[in-house]
Every structure is written in C-alpha cells, then in structure tokens.
C-alpha cells in the first residue's frame, strides 16, 4: 500500500512537467476529435500519430498515445447523441437513448452525463488498474476459447431476453446479423465464404461501416423522407444541465457500468464493445420502468458510456501487467513501446516504474482534462443542432464517407456502408430494430471462431465446455436466464414487456 503511494508520487512527479502535461492534453484533444468523427476510431488515430512520437522520450510518447485512446471514448458519445451516428464502435448503444433524449430537447443533459459518467468510470478504473493489475491479468489469461464461447452464449441469451419490441423481429435481426457476420475467410480452414470473388470481403464486413450505415445513414434517409419540419431547438442554460432527477437516475448505472466495463475490458477481444451491450441490457433489466428505454432513458446513456471508458482502461491490464495485448488498440500501444525500446512483459512494472507510474498518473490527469474539455463543449455541440438540416445532413454524409474510407483506405467499406444505410432505412420503415443486427455482426465471427477453436482443442469433445470451471459458470447463468424467461408460461403475471406494449398504445 505504502509502496503504491510512493510509486504514485513518482508517477505524478513524472507527469507534472510542462511537456508531459502538454502531451497529455494534446492526446486527449486528438482523442476527443477522432472519437467525434465517425469511422475514425482510436486505432486509426493512434497509428497515424505513432510515427510522430519516434522523437519523444518513452514516457511522453505513451502518455500522448494513451490519451488518444481513452479520449476517444469520451468523444464517441457526441455524434451518437446528437445525430445517431456512432463516432466510435463502442458508442453504438448510446445512439439509442442518447438520440431519443436529443429529440426531446435533452441533448445537453445526455452529453453532460456521458462526460461525467466517462470521468467517474475512467478515474475509478485507473484505481483498479493500479491495485489489481497483476492478479487480474492472470485471470484474463485463463480466458481461453471455451470460456470466451460460453461468455458470449450467456451474453446472447441475456440480451435476447432483455431487448425490447417484438421478440420474433429481434431474433430475426440477430440471426440476420449473424449471417452477415459469416461473410469472409473461414479462420479455421482458409475457405472464402460468401465473398463472391471480392478479396476485400475476406475479412468480413467491418463493424464500422455496418454501424455507421445502419444507424447514421438510415437516420439521414428517414429524416429526409419525413415531411415534418422539426422546430429548431433553442437550448437555454437550464436545458443544458442535467436535472436533479437525471443525476439521481445516473449514479447507479455509472457505478455498475464501471465495474462491468472494467471486468469485461480485461478479457481479450473487442470487449469494450460487448461491455456496452451488456451494461445497457443490465440497466434495462433492473430498471423499474424498462418501457422508458429507447424513448430517452438517461440510464441507457450513463451505463454504456461508463462501461466503454472503464473497459478501455481494463484492456490495459493484461498489456501492462503481462505484456500481452488483448485487442487491436493495446497491440498498437505495445508496438509504440517497442519502437521506444521497451518490450512490456511480466517484469515491465518492476523494470520500468517511471513509464508505468507515469502512465497511471497521466490517466488521472487526462480524465480530469477530458471532463474540463467536454463539459463546456456540451453547449457548443448542442448548438450544432440549430444548423438547418439541408446543410447539416449533407455535411454529416460527407464525414461518414470520408471517415469510413479512412479506416482501411477501402472503397468496399464505403459500399458496405451505403448498402447498410439503405437496408437500415427499409428495416426501420418496417419497424425492425437495427441494434440487434449490429450485435449479430459483431459477435458472429468471435462466437464461431471460439466455438471451433474449443472443439479443435478437445478434438471434437463437447464436454470441454462443462469441464472448465469458468466456462461452466457462464453456461449455468445462461441456463438460469432461459428458465427465468419460461416462468411467465407457468405463472401468469404481467411483465414489463406487456407494460411496454401498453405504453406504446397510449402514445
């Protein structure tokens, strides 16, 4: 304990030099920007700036690059709330209730809560990173393919039980998403599947073009097709600040989102995206008024936004404690460290205390900077909604195209985005939810690959899923959820689904 504080002081003394504070600031600023721009995520941001850090000393370089990483999680919520375009893949869930709030003139509070939730989650996760990194990292490595598969099965069961609207339509969308997710090279055998000779489809359809198309482009098309001219909202200061009730409703979701996000973030894979789905589902499940979700529930913004920030820092645990990156962004950070002559490994924290504790301290500073940066911008961003649609929407469209193209320099991605945009428009006209489909696209490759890897490990023996304790644990939870969902068949009681249907009838 004492040693930790001694080290933290070392860290802060590293950060509190004018140069390092500046790098932290610049990193957070760039992070917010890449988070705001659709398509351009932290991965693109960090890799573009990587070469410019060659000349810096290691600590400054890593402070700058890490700032971009967690800064992007703040920025990602902005376009989700204002325009229903996820600025970053982990902000997909924020689109649902954040945008609904914006349409009710509560964009300000949604943005503010997103920033505050991100701050709380970010800061608490650094505490977690500081104290728990080494033991948690060991736990993360225990996650092999069977554990991952069972976690996802459990997640899917929980989610399909909790998503609103027609169950049949939702299931149809999940299955459709899973099918789209099957496109690409079969990772176990090397076969091309459903790619029709387009090499670029070998890696499957990317999440970014799908999410931007299904959410963003379809929204633009829907708006263009609707005759109503929305009144231009003139936000007053009162409308920018969350009300007491909104604060009260957000506290618990932020807390839960933080814990969930941090724990899920440690698990290898694109876990920060999954953490937002799980957080949203949990909030909806335990809410007393689940029918408000989708109609602008502040909890639906607070939980996922806290989760994605906590997860982005949780993902650093295995990297810093063991030197093993668990996703594309930590992999680039690992590369950045290697360029500076440090190969993180199990001895990283002992051998490089200045870098490790400097990074930890910079994250405390960075989160503070981000809060101060984002709160005043709320007013500015909300004003963006006053720009007439005939100017705003073509501009957004342009940014979507450029952003999606920039990720892989791929025109195929732009094509996918356009197709998904039209598809999303048609689906919404027919009252299908697009979020379950995005979920299917995200999960399909991971779930299939981990399933087949597991069976390869056990030479085809299915008992591998129940022999391993963590895997079995998730399967038991999934089973309990299924049994719970069967309960209404036997015990007649009005559940929230019916209340939701009634609420919609009244509206």
């Amino acid at each position: 304990m004492e040693a930790t504080f001694h080290n933290l002081i070392l860290g802060f003394s590293t950060v509190f030099t004018p140069a390092n504070i500046l790098y932290s600031l610049v990193g957070c600023l760039i992070g917010t920007m890449v988070g705001v721009l659709p398509g351009v995520g932290p991965l693109a941001g960090i890799s573009m700036l990587l070469p410019t850090t060659f000349g810096l000393d290691t600590t400054s370089a890593i402070i700058l690059l890490a700032g971009i990483y967690y800064g992007a999680m703040y920025g990602g919520s902005t376009t989700s709330i204002l325009m229903r375009i996820p600025g970053e893949a982990a902000s997909v869930m924020t689109c649902i209730d954040g945008y609904a709030m914006a349409r009710k003139g509560r964009a300000g509070p949604a943005l503010a809560i997103a920033a505050i939730g991100s701050y709380i989650a970010g800061t608490l996760s650094v505490v977690g990173l500081m104290f728990l990194a080494p033991p948690l990292a060991k736990f993360a490595l225990g996650f092999g393919p069977p554990e991952y598969f069972c976690l996802l099965v459990c997640g899917l069961v929980v989610l399909s039980y909790m998503t609103g609207g027609s169950i049949v339509k939702n299931l149809a969308m999940i299955v459709f998403g899973l099918m789209v997710g099957m496109i690409g090279i079969d990772q176990m055998s090397g076969y091309f599947r459903f790619s029709y000779g387009i090499v670029a489809l070998g890696d499957g359809v990317g999440l970014v073009p799908v999410a931007v198309g299904l959410f963003g482009i379809s929204e633009i098309l829907v708006t263009a097709g609707s005759p109503e001219i929305r009144e231009v909202l003139k936000p007053r200061l009162r409308d920018l600040i969350p009300s007491k009730q909104e604060f009260k409703d957000s506290i618990a979701p932020i807390g839960r989102g933080t814990v969930l996000g941090f724990l899920i973030g440690i698990i290898p894979g694109s876990a920060h995206i999954i953490s937002t789905f799980v957080s949203y589902a949990v909030e909806r499940r335990i809410s007393k008024h689940p029918e408000r979700f989708g109609q602008g529930a502040i909890e639906g913004v607070a939980g996922p936004e806290a989760a994605n920030n906590a997860a982005s820092e949780g993902a650093l645990v295995p990297l810093l404690a063991l030197g093993v990156p668990t996703g594309p962004v930590p992999a680039v950070l690992l590369a950045a460290l290697m360029v500076h002559g440090i190969t993180p490994g199990p001895l990283f924290i002992q051998e490089q205390p200045v870098v490790f504790w400097g990074l930890i301290a910079s994250m405390y500073v960075g989160n503070m900077v981000l809060l101060l940066l984002n709160l005043p911008m709320v007013g500015l961003f909300v004003n963006l909604l006053r720009v007439p649609y005939r100017i705003l929407y073509p501009t957004i469209l342009l940014f979507c195209v450029l952003g999606v193209y920039a990720v892989n320099s791929s025109l195929v991605d732009v094509g996918i985005m356009s197709i998904m945009g039209v598809l999303g428009y048609l689906l919404r006209k027919m009252d299908f939810e697009t979020a379950p489909m995005v979920l299917g696209v995200v999960l399909a490759p991971i779930i299939e690959f981990s399933f087949r890897q597991s069976l390869a490990m056990s030479a085809g023996d299915y008992s591998i899923f129940i022999q391993r304790p963590i895997a079995a644990f998730f399967l038991v939870i999934a089973l309990i959820m299924i049994l719970l969902s069967l309960k209404p068949l036997f015990i007649k009681k009005r559940d929230w689904r019916e209340r939701l249907t009634e609420a919609q009838k009244d509206a």
Partner: protein, 330 residues
C-alpha cells in the same frame, strides 16, 4: 467556433485521404520522384511490416526529397494490400513492404482451386530489409527440455500436443508444420487471430507450444514463464546464444524466417528501380533506421535486389513445399 471545429476536422481527414488520388497523374520520362511516394503496408499498424516500413519511409523521405507516405491497406491476411500493389501503376509511386507470407498466398489459392489474387511475378523485389527466424516456445511447466523430448513425446501421443498459430497458413502455422513434417510427428493446430493471441494462448496454458517471433518471446523467457527449445534459422540467434537451431539437432531441411522486403510492381521502369535500390541501400545505413530496428529487436538483414531475388526464390520454394504438405485443413 463551430464552423472552425468542423473545418479543422475536415482538414485533418482531407489530408489523410488526399495522398491516394494524388498518385494517379502520370508523368512522361520525368526524373524520379517528383511527387509523393506511397508505400502500401498490407497489414495493420503496429505489426512487423508496419514497424519496419515506418522508419524506412522516414529515411527514404530524406533521400528522395519527396514525402513517403505509409498506407495500411489491410484485409484477408494481407491479400487485399498485396493485390492493390500487384495492379498498381508501375511508375514507382506505389511501393510495398510485405512479409514472407507473400509467397504462401498464391499457393493457398491454388490449393482451393480459386483464381490467384496475385502472382509472385507481379512484383519486382527491391531489397530484403529484415529477417528473423521463429523459435519453438513451450511453457516452462511443460516436461520438455529439448527438441528431442518434444518430438519423442509427440511420437508417443500423435495429434495430442496442441500449438497455436497466427492463423491458418500464417507464418506460425507453416513454420510448425515444416518441423512436424520433417520430424514425422503430428501436432494439433489451434489457429488464432494473430501472433499476440497465439502467445496469449500459450501463456494461458490453452496450448502447449508455439513457433513465435523471438522479440516478443524474450521478455517472457526472462520472466521464466516460457522456455525456448530451438530456432528455425540457419545459425543461432545473438539474443539467444544457448538455443540450438533445428538444423543442428538434425532437421536439416527445416528453415523458416519472418522476413520483410521492399517491392515495386513488376513492370516498373529500370531507371526507377535503380533509383529506389540506391536510395534503399543508403536508407538501411541511416542511423535513425538502425536505431529504430535495434529498439524493436528486429535484425536488419539487407540484401540488394539480385541477392534478394535469389533469397526469395529459395524461401518461396520451401514455403510452397510446406503448404503442399499441409494441404487443405479440415
């Protein structure tokens, strides 16, 4: 403020994408180069190819007096970027840094009876930049102290020892199967999504062995969590002087390197190739490039075009044979 912000954002993006279209204007018999040069890296940022290409681009920029821009054109295990290079205009303004897997892909396409995405003859080699043999890494909890132990155990229980790879027909897969074929053993292959996840699978105890890059394995060797039994090179690694090569312990035909090379499209005019060869020869001597490579523990292994061509032909022959031995994965 508001239009300002949008402008800044727009400017950033325009800068990012503008370099692509710029390369389409064709000059006739001009001195080379007169405009920015694009270097395709068919792998994501942070990978071996990317980390070699970036300092190279920085060094070339000073020599060619033109911006040299890295474009990560990723997808399908590198096939997307390599195809883009194969069909690029052969004017010396679109070049590529690729890895040894370049030789494997056409063979895999042939295996599946599909039209090849590109042919090896689509590329003109400029220089070999680095080469690094993989090493046989096992958990320190495993009973194997030598390659002989490993092979003997694998013979006792064929198909039961598990190894992870960076992906099917990827470097870590082909290298391990080369050994398996030569030693007459059968191992169980668990493909993962890349070199990092494969190492994680070993550290987490989900597999028993990997054939991995030495630079990422060394910290774990130092920490005592893993052991290295042998290397795939033709001589011992300077960083691991006690580790024998597989050739030394009796597997004469086993040799594998993760190498990176610099390529131009095949039809690039001779004067342009000459200019690039000269610039690259100087670039690999540049102190900045040397330091960058040293820091990443990736040994520079420079060979000029003719020698590189010979090296590449020999290497491709070995790899193609290995892929044929693997055959279709069920």
């Amino acid at each position: 403020m508001k239009p300002m912000r949008v402008l800044v954002g727009a400017a950033a993006i325009v800068c990012m994408v503008a370099v692509g279209p710029l390369a389409d204007i064709a000059p006739a018999a001009e001195p080379y180069p007169v405009r920015p040069v694009q270097v395709i890296v068919p792998f994501p940022p942070g990978g071996v190819a990317d980390l070699v290409a970036r300092p190279l681009a920085a060094a070339l920029e000073k020599l060619l007096k033109q911006p040299v821009v890295i474009v990560n054109k990723t997808g399908a295990g590198g096939a997307v970027g390599m195809q883009a290079q194969a069909v690029a205009k052969p004017d010396g303004y679109t070049l590529m840094v690729a890895l040894s897997s370049i030789s494997v892909m056409p063979e895999v396409d042939a295996l599946f009876n599909r039209p090849p995405v590109y042919k090896l003859s689509d590329f003109a080699p400029i220089a070999l930049l680095s080469s690094d043999p993989t090493v046989l890494v096992v958990s320190s909890k495993s009973p194997w102290k030598t390659v002989a132990d490993f092979v003997a155990d694998a013979k006792k229980r064929p198909g039961e020892i598990k190894y992870a790879s960076s992906g099917v027909y990827g470097t870590m897969h082909v290298a391990m199967e080369m050994l398996a074929h030569s030693a007459g053993i059968k191992l169980r292959h668990i493909p993962t999504g890349g070199g990092g996840p494969a190492l994680n699978a070993l550290l987490g105890g989900h597999v028993d062995a990997i054939s991995g890059g030495p630079n990422v394995s060394i910290p774990h060797i130092k920490a005592g969590t893993v052991r290295v039994l042998a290397g795939w090179g033709d001589k011992r690694l300077p960083a691991l002087p006690d580790v024998p090569t597989l050739k030394e312990v009796g597997y004469k035909d086993v040799e594998f390197y993760i190498w990176s090379g610099f390529f131009a499209p095949a039809a690039t005019p001779e004067p342009v190739i000459k200019a690039l060869r000269e610039a690259t020869a100087k670039a690999v001597q540049a102190p900045d490039f040397k330091t960058a490579m040293e820091k990443m523990a990736t040994p520079i292994d420079y060979l000029d075009a003719p020698d590189f061509k010979k090296f590449w032909d020999r290497d491709a022959e070995r790899l193609i044979k290995a892929v044929r031995n693997i055959g279709k994965v069920e």
